[in-house]
């Protein structure tokens, strides 16, 4: 990609010195710049290269290639350009501009991969397939007599300790293997909200298993 090498420091933003390449991008993306349109095109070209690179990197998990994969990259780059141009005023010079801009297109690729999941879903949202749980957590079937009660306790905690939304998200991600970004699309939420809901569910479930003697709490382990 064409953004290696930013030796010269010749300007600053919020007291931070900026490299020459970053300064060039910021000047070009300024609304009044005579090269604004050309800079936007250059930004699109950069982000498209990154999107294609990222789509190829993740293509094995997607099961798509060729024009379909390239179309995904184009869509991600187009949306990322809009985001970057809209948010350029928030850039604080704490990294190179290109690194900052590229994280937006990486995120857009992830979003599109999440959408792609529902074109050929391999599982449903709500079916509770508890038979998958032992394999999901590497519980050896030979030792089923040992972990059977643990799984039963976990299932009871999922049913009785979690809120409806926590339970739905736990079931989708943990039991049914729905990728988190695909769940974001399905529920019309954002990644942070889904993660936080699952985080709270994990904390509640662990507390329940500790209380009922299936897991040791950290204090007793340290003692």
């Amino acid at each position: 990609m064409a953004f290696a090498g930013h030796a010269a420091l010749d300007s600053s933003l919020g007291g931070r010195r900026l490299d020459a390449d970053t300064v060039s991008w910021l000047e070009g993306l300024d609304g009044g710049s005579p090269v604004h349109d050309a800079t936007t095109v250059r930004l699109y070209e950069l982000l498209l290269r990154v999107a294609r690179h990222e789509a190829r990197r993740r293509s094995p998990q997607l099961g798509i290639a060729g024009p379909e994969l390239d179309d995904l990259a184009h869509q991600a780059a187009a949306d990322a350009v809009v985001n970057v141009v809209a948010k350029v005023g928030e850039f604080r010079g704490e990294s190179r501009f290109t690194t900052w801009a590229c994280k937006f297109v990486i995120f857009e690729v992830s979003t599109r991969i999440g959408r792609h999941f529902w074109r050929h879903p391999t599982t449903s949202m709500d079916a509770e397939d508890w038979d998958r749980l032992p394999d999901r957590f590497g519980l050896d079937p030979v030792e089923a007599s040992e972990w059977g009660d643990l799984v039963a306790a976990l299932r009871a905690a999922v049913e009785h300790e979690l809120t409806e939304r926590q339970r739905r998200i736990f079931v989708a991600i943990v039991l049914n293997g729905v990728p988190l970004d695909a769940l974001v699309v399905e529920l019309g939420a954002n990644r942070n909200a889904i993660y936080k809901t699952l985080f709270d569910a994990r904390r509640k479930l662990r507390a329940s298993l500790v209380t009922n003697g299936y897991l040791a709490d950290d204090a007793s382990r340290r003692a």
């Binding site: 990609m1 064409a2 953004f3 290696a4 090498g5 290269r49 990154v50 690179h53 990222e54 990197r57 993740r58 704490e94 990294s95 190179r96 290109t98 690194t99 900052w100 590229c102 994280k103 990486i106 995120f107 690729v109 992830s110 957590f137 590497g138 519980l139 040992e146 972990w147 643990l150 976990l154 943990v174 990728p179 988190l180 970004d181 954002n190 990644r191 942070n192 993660y195 936080k196 985080f199 994990r202 904390r203 479930l205 662990r206 298993l209 897991l215 040791a216």
Partner: protein
């Protein structure tokens, strides 16, 4: 040594966890720090905790790292 390490690892939460939004906010700095010094986890421990627990965010981290690590692509 626990009897159910994978399950315990999944259920264990860390209050230091930055969450997805803050991780995205810091991701460009985290990646550049890792590239330059290899100590991003020390500089941004809350992001490191999150990346060890969140598959989508670790994918984004690896993608951004790959993007800026490969100037010829």
């Amino acid at each position: 040594m626990t009897r159910w390490p994978s399950l315990e690892r999944f259920l264990k939460t860390d209050p230091q966890d930055a969450g997805c939004a803050e991780t995205f906010e810091l991701l460009d700095r985290y990646v550049e720090r890792e590239m330059a010094h290899g100590d991003a986890a020390d500089r941004y421990p809350e992001v490191a905790v999150h990346l060890s627990n969140c598959n989508p965010c670790i994918e984004d981290f690896e993608g951004l790292l790959a993007a800026i690590s490969d100037p010829e692509d």
